[in-house]
């Protein structure tokens, strides 16, 4: 399911955070949303995730107008993993993942066998089945991030949005999470991740969208976007691109 944004604009008071964003995330691919701090990455994810209503523009999922869908309908198609979501009370991993079923549940009915199956599958896919009865507060950063991912997967989304999912994770946890995202992509989920680390994006993404000042500075395959001519003016640094000796992917160095 490919995601297509057209002229999306959103302002906070006088500040135009998103200034006519037109971009796409190809179906069943991992798209990296890149850009300096304040470029509008989080805001863009929130617009697509239905948290913020854009002032203008449209968001289509395989031709269906996402903004016109009822909220619950949308939440069954698109899931968002925020940065550092903290629970108000101690929750176990399974209780947190149950919340992902919210858009699928009726008001009075309990969780059906189908819901429990979806929760189990989400725990399994995120690799946190063994942690299901632990409290979130007792997990490591990487485990917690995967628990949040499981919560989003319980929504059974076609599109998964992640805001800086690798922040505060050590190298091992980072690679583990990226491998997990790759496995979701292989299962035909369209994944869009806002990323700070350009090298991580270069190593893992199929497609990248580079934002600067609320506009798309460049979009395309990694090899076309993560080049010095594009990166240098956006970040204001000198950039050289090498080739990874093992993977053959681009490696960026900055000075």
């Amino acid at each position: 399911m490919s995601l297509r944004l057209t002229d999306v604009a959103w302002s906070a008071g006088e500040v135009r955070v998103l200034d006519g964003v037109t971009a796409a995330a190809p179906g069943g691919r991992l798209t990296g949303l890149l850009g300096p701090n304040g470029a509008g990455k989080s805001t863009l994810l929130r617009v697509v995730g239905g948290v913020l209503a854009p002032d203008a523009g449209s968001v289509h999922l395989d031709g269906a107008d996402l903004l016109a869908l009822p909220r619950r309908e949308r939440a069954r198609r698109v899931a968002l993993v925020e940065q550092e979501a903290v629970a108000a009370w101690p929750l176990t991993v399974r209780e947190a993942v149950h919340l992902g079923r919210t858009p699928h549940l009726s008001r009075w009915g309990g969780l059906t066998a189908r819901d429990h199956a979806a929760v189990d599958a989400a725990l399994e896919a995120a690799g946190v089945s063994a942690l299901a009865d632990r409290r979130l507060g007792t997990l490591s950063g990487g485990e917690r991030q995967r628990a949040h991912l499981a919560r989003a997967l319980a929504q059974e989304p076609r599109v998964l949005l992640l805001d800086e999912p690798t922040n505060h994770l050590d190298v091992h946890a980072r690679l583990e999470l990226l491998a997990l995202l790759r496995s979701l992509v292989a299962a035909d989920v369209t994944v869009v991740a806002a990323l700070h680390d350009l090298n991580l994006a270069a190593a893992a993404c199929d497609h990248v969208v580079l934002l600067a000042d609320g506009r798309v500075a460049a979009e395309g395959p990694v090899e076309e976007v993560l080049v010095p001519d594009v990166v240098e003016p956006v970040y204001g640094v000198r950039c050289d691109v090498l080739t990874h000796p093992v993977t053959g992917r681009p490696v960026l160095t900055f000075s």
Binding site: R46, G49, G50, V51, P70, R71, R72, E73, R74, A75, R76, V78, A79, L80, E82, A85, V86, A87, A88, W89, P90, L91, T92, V93, R94, E95, A96, H98, L99, G100, T102, P103, L105, R107, W108, G110, L111, H116, A132, D133, R134, R135, L136, G137, T138, Q155
Partner: protein, 352 residues
């Protein structure tokens, strides 16, 4: 969330609820027997049976208990105990919802300045002799506070938890200042005690009309809140997460705050502002059955009802024949409970 292996030593909801309901029923019966006149639990039920039969048109002409004992049960103690149960249930539910909606563990039903608004209304009646019934004045005061707080919280954007707390604080301060001013300006020795008793929360003199108001509000509005259990669950990780799960966050918060406020307003009108029930009990129940609202809210109601029944029984009997405002008792009991919960929570390694 059902009773699946939801994790760790959380107790199964069904049995816990049954036990809680049984304890409440026994508590109400026993509490009615306690007091200056000696009564047996069976007397309570005999009186109830007589009156119910009477209402259905088939009652005996003469109460089986004798007029005096029957009067004590039916006219004095039972309505008061039932009011305590309904107020306790309502406050616990309102507190639990308020905590969830504002994501603030220290929130209580009075967060929007409702009790201060109600106090101003009540004191106006007690001191200035404004010609309306006290509960009506208190309810109107609470409503004015609600509208003021929601308007203030909603100015120029959505109602966020932080704005809610600040708006409630502002309204509460203003209304408290108004109350103090009225008392300072015109209260005399006599009315002063009456005012203090109301401000501290008291169920003295609660009759069947009070039962009707408190039970009606708790049953109708409380059920409405339980129906929103799933929505409340979705707020666990905050507004953004709730919105991403398909919740209309702004509208939902407005509706929930309004329902909680109407419920609280009705309870305050009956009993004054009784502290700690709505603050501490939801935490205690959450600790036992977990934070899922479809379990939390009904159980909070049962536990809150039982708690206030006993607190009020203590309030009217411990210093017989003098009576304490029940708010003093709940605070004395509630503070250590709260401290214990904090300590247990810390011991359980739960900081997130």
């Amino acid at each position: 969330m059902t009773g699946r292996p939801g994790g760790r030593p959380r107790l199964p909801t069904g049995p816990v609820a049954l036990v809680a309901a049984a304890v409440l029923l026994v508590s109400v019966t026993v509490a009615v027997t306690i007091g200056p006149a000696d009564l047996a639990p069976a007397d309570v039920w005999r009186s109830v049976a007589d009156h119910v039969a009477g209402l259905l048109g088939g009652g005996p002409a003469e109460p089986a208990l004798g007029r005096l004992a029957d009067g004590i049960v039916w006219d004095l103690r039972l309505p008061r105990v039932l009011t305590a149960a309904a107020v306790g249930a309502g406050l616990a539910v309102a507190g639990a919802v308020m905590q969830s909606v504002t994501r603030n563990p220290l929130a209580d039903p009075y967060l929007l300045g409702l009790s201060s608004g109600a106090s101003l209304g009540a004191v106006a009646v007690l001191v200035l002799g404004v010609g309306v019934l006290l509960p009506v004045a208190a309810f109107v005061g609470a409503l004015v506070a609600l509208v003021a707080a929601l308007t203030l919280a909603g100015v120029g954007g959505t109602i966020t938890p932080g704005r809610t707390v600040l708006a409630g604080l502002a309204v509460a301060q203003l209304a408290s200042a108004g109350t103090s001013f009225v008392i300072f300006w015109s209260a005399t020795g006599d009315s002063y005690r009456e005012i203090l008793s109301w401000l501290m929360g008291s169920l003295a003199g609660a009759g069947w009309p009070a039962v009707g108001i408190a039970l009606g509000a708790t049953a109708v509005l409380g059920t409405g809140l339980v129906a929103q259990g799933r929505t409340l669950d979705a707020f666990a990780f905050g507004d953004t997460a709730a919105a991403a799960l398909g919740i209309d966050v702004g509208r939902t918060r407005w509706v929930l705050l309004t329902v909680v406020a109407l419920l609280t307003g009705a309870l305050v009108a009956v009993s004054g502002s009784i502290g700690f029930v709505g603050l501490a009990l939801p935490h205690a129940v959450r600790f036992v059955v977990g934070p899922g609202h479809r379990r939390l809210l009904p159980l909070s109601a049962l536990v809150g009802a039982t708690f206030l029944v006993w607190a009020d029984t203590a309030a009217r009997t411990v210093f017989e024949p003098r009576e304490l405002p029940v708010g003093i008792v709940t605070a004395f009991l509630g503070a250590p409970v709260f401290a214990l919960l904090l300590w247990r929570r810390r011991a359980a390694g739960a900081d997130a």
